[in-house]
Subunit: 210 residues, 4 copies
DNA sequence: GATGAATGAGGATTCATTCAT
DNA sequence: CATGAATGAATCCTCATTCAT
C-alpha cells in the first residue's frame, strides 16, 4: 500500500485517480471493520495511506460516503465472484453448489465485509434498503428460472421457487454472520458442504440428489 | 410508562428497585433499537421515564452496562420462550417444529431485539462472545441428545448432530436478520413452515418426514 | 464576571439560570464584537467566564443562537433606552431631540452593538430581516402620529411622515456606523446636536424652529 | 464571462494581464457579496472564470488581497462616478444634488459593493481605516470650499462646513445600508429627492433653496 | 504561464459521566 | 435517594495555500 511520492499538479489521467480511490477504499474497509463506524477516524485512514486527511475528502465527500463506498465495493466484488463462479454452469444442482461455495468462500476471504454489513445496519437503520439487499436481487430472476428448470426435470421438489430462494439465502446469510461472530473455527470448505448437503436433501426430491 | 410518584422513605423492599430496573431496561431497549448505540442518548431514556439522568446511572453503572442489560434481558426472554415451547415435547420432529415457531415468533413480536443484536456486534466487536451466542449454547447438549434419539429411531439422517445444529441455527439466525432488514413482509407463521419444511426434508431420511 | 464556584445539582430556581444566561450573553457580545463571528471561539467565551464550553452550549443551542441572543439583547436594551427617554415627552420637537440623544448616547456607551449589527449582516445576509429592523418598526406608528401632530400644529413641514422617518432613521444609522468605523472622535453629545440642528432645519417649516 | 482560449506563447502585453485581473475582480466581487468573506471559496471564483485556482493566486497573493482588490475597485468606481457627475458643476446647490444622485445611483446599480463594505468591516475590524473612508476624504477640501462659497453667497447657513459634510455623509452612508439591508423598495431616484429635500432645507438658509 | 492535487490547521458540537444539593 | 447542571474529550469537515507537472 506504499504510496509513491507525487507532488501536486494535474494527474496524468483519470486512471490514477481511480487507483487512488481504490486504495482509499481498501484502507477504509479495514479501518471501519476494525473500529466500527463512529469509532473509525478518517484521520487513521489517511495516516495509513500516508496522505493528508484532506486528500481522503477529495475523493469522498464525507465519512458516510467513504463508508458506503467501501460497502458497495465489497458487495460488488461478492456479486462478481458468485456470478463468475456460476456463469457457465447450467446444471441446477451444480449451479447451487458453485454459488454456495463462491459465496461462503468470498466471505471467508473477506471477513471485513461481514463487519461492514453489520455496521451499515447498525448505524444507518433508517436506510430504505441495505446495500446487500439491493444487490441480492440482481440475479433473482435468473436463479428462479434455474430452480424452475430443476423442478421440471424432476430433480427439485415442487416448491415455490421464491420460498426456496429465501430459505437458502437466509441460511447463507445467517452462516456468514454466525461464522464471523461466534468465531466458529470451521474450514469454510467443509461448512459449505454441510450447508449444501442439508439444503440439497430438502430441496431435491428423494433419490435425485446425493 | 408514567412513573408513579413515590413519597419519601426507604422503598418497601428491593422488589421496587427491581421493578424500576425493568422499566429502565424496557425503555432503553426501545431507545437503543431506534437510535443505535452511539446515537442513543441516556438523557432520552431518562426523559421518557420521567426521571433524572442520575437515576439511570444509579441503576446502571454506565451506558454500556445499560445496553448489555437490555440485550441480556432480551435474550433471556427468548430462551425462556423457546424453552417453554419445547419443555414437554419429546418427539424430535415436534420438538424442532415448536422450537422454530417459538424462535421466529419471538423475534416477530420483539423486533427491537434484532436491532440490539446487530448493534452489539457493530459496537462491541472485540467482545469475546456476543450475548446471543453465550445463551445459544445453553441447551446445546439437550438438543444434541434429541437429535441423537432421532437418528437412533431412524427419523433423522445419520449426520453429525453438531452440524445439523449449526445449519439449523444459521438458517434461523439468517432468517430473523433478513426478515428485519429487508422489510420482507411475510407472515412469520408461514415462513416458519417454509423453513421447517425445507430443513426437514434435508434433516430427515427420505420418507420419514412429511 | 467572577463566577462563584457552584457544583452540579438542581439550581435553586430559574432565576439563577437567567442570571447565568445574562453573563454568557454579556461575555459573548464582547467576544463577537472583538473577533467577528467566524473568528470568535465559543471556547474563549467559556474561558472568560471560567466555565466549560459545554455549559455555554447548555444555555445556547449553537454558536449562532448565542450570537443572535447577544444581538437581540443589545437591540432590546437600545429600544428600552430610547423608549424610556421619550416616554413622557409629548412635544414633537422635544421628542425627536430626546430620541436622537438617547439613540446616539446608547451606541456611544455600547459600541460593541454596532459591531454586532455589522456582523449580523455580514454573516447572515440571507436572513429575512436583520434584528435591528425588526425592532425598528416597533414604535413606527407612535412616531408617525407624533409627526402628524407636528404637521397639524404647523411646526413640521408638510412632508409624508414615513419619508421623514426614513431620512432621520438613515441619518442616525449612518452616523453610528461612521462614528464607529472612521474612529471619528467627536463627543457624541455635540454630534447629536449637529444632527438635530441639521435635521430640524429641514424638518420644520421655515421660521418655526431655531 | 466565458474565457477565451489562449494559445501558447507570451501574452501580447501587460494589457491582457490587466484585463484578466479585472475579470477576476468582477467575479470575486459577486462571490464575496453573495457568500461573505469566510464562506466565499476561491475555488468558486476560479470555477466561474473557468480557470484553475492557481491562476487566481497568480494575480492575487491571497484571498485577502483578492477581497481588498475587489473593494478597492468598487470604491474607485464610486469615486469616479461621483466626480464625473460633479466635475463641471460650480453651483453649490446643484453640486450637492448631483453628488447625492450619483452616489445613491451608483449603489443602486452596484448593490454588491454595499455588501463588500459591510464585510470589510466585519472581517477586518482591526484595519486602521476602511477603504471607504480612505477614499471618502479624497475630495474633502474641494467640497469644503464649495460649502464655504455657498455660505459666502448666503445660500448656505453659516455652519462649520465639516459638520455639514459629516451629517450629509452619514445620512447617505446610512441610506445605502438601510436600503440594502431592510430591502426597502423605493425607487432610488425618489429617495434621492427625499434626502436632498430634507437635507437642503436644513443646510440652506430659509427661502434660498427649492 | 497554468493547473489542480495535496495538505492540515482550526473549531463547533455532542453527550457520558460526575457530584453538590 | 434523586436530581440535573457542569464538564471536556473526541472528531468531522472546510478551504487557503503550495508546488510538481
Amino acid at each position: 500500500m506504499e504510496r509513491k511520492k507525487r507532488g501536486p499538479g494535474r494527474p496524468r489521467d483519470a486512471e490514477l485517480a481511480a487507483r487512488r480511490r481504490e486504495e482509499i477504499l481498501a484502507e477504509a474497509t479495514g479501518v471501519f471493520a476494525a473500529a466500527g463506524y463512529r469509532q473509525a477516524d478518517v484521520q487513521v485512514v489517511a495516516d495509513r495511506l500516508g496522505v493528508g486527511k484532506g486528500t481522503v475528502y477529495r475523493y469522498f465527500e464525507s465519512k458516510e460516503a467513504l463508508f458506503f463506498g467501501a460497502v458497495d465495493a465489497g458487495i460488488r466484488a461478492l456479486v462478481e465472484r458468485v456470478d463468475a463462479a456460476t456463469a457457465r454452469v447450467d446444471d441446477p444442482v451444480e449451479h447451487l453448489k458453485k454459488a454456495v461455495h463462491a459465496y461462503l468462500g468470498f466471505f471467508d476471504e473477506n471477513p471485513d465485509l461481514v463487519e461492514l454489513l453489520i455496521i451499515e445496519r447498525a448505524e444507518f437503520r433508517d436506510r430504505e434498503q441495505a446495500t446487500y439487499f439491493v444487490y441480492k436481487d440482481r440475479n433473482y430472476d435468473r436463479r428462479v428460472s434455474f430452480i424452475r428448470q430443476g423442478i421440471e426435470r424432476g430433480v427439485i421438489r415442487d416448491v415455490p421457487p421464491d420460498r426456496v430462494m429465501n430459505v437458502v439465502g437466509d441460511c447463507l446469510y445467517g452462516t456468514i454472520f454466525t461464522n464471523h461472530f461466534s468465531k466458529r473455527k470451521i474450514p469454510f470448505q467443509r461448512q459449505a458442504e454441510d450447508v449444501i448437503d442439508l439444503l440439497m436433501n430438502g430441496v431435491f426430491t428423494a433419490g435425485s440428489a446425493k
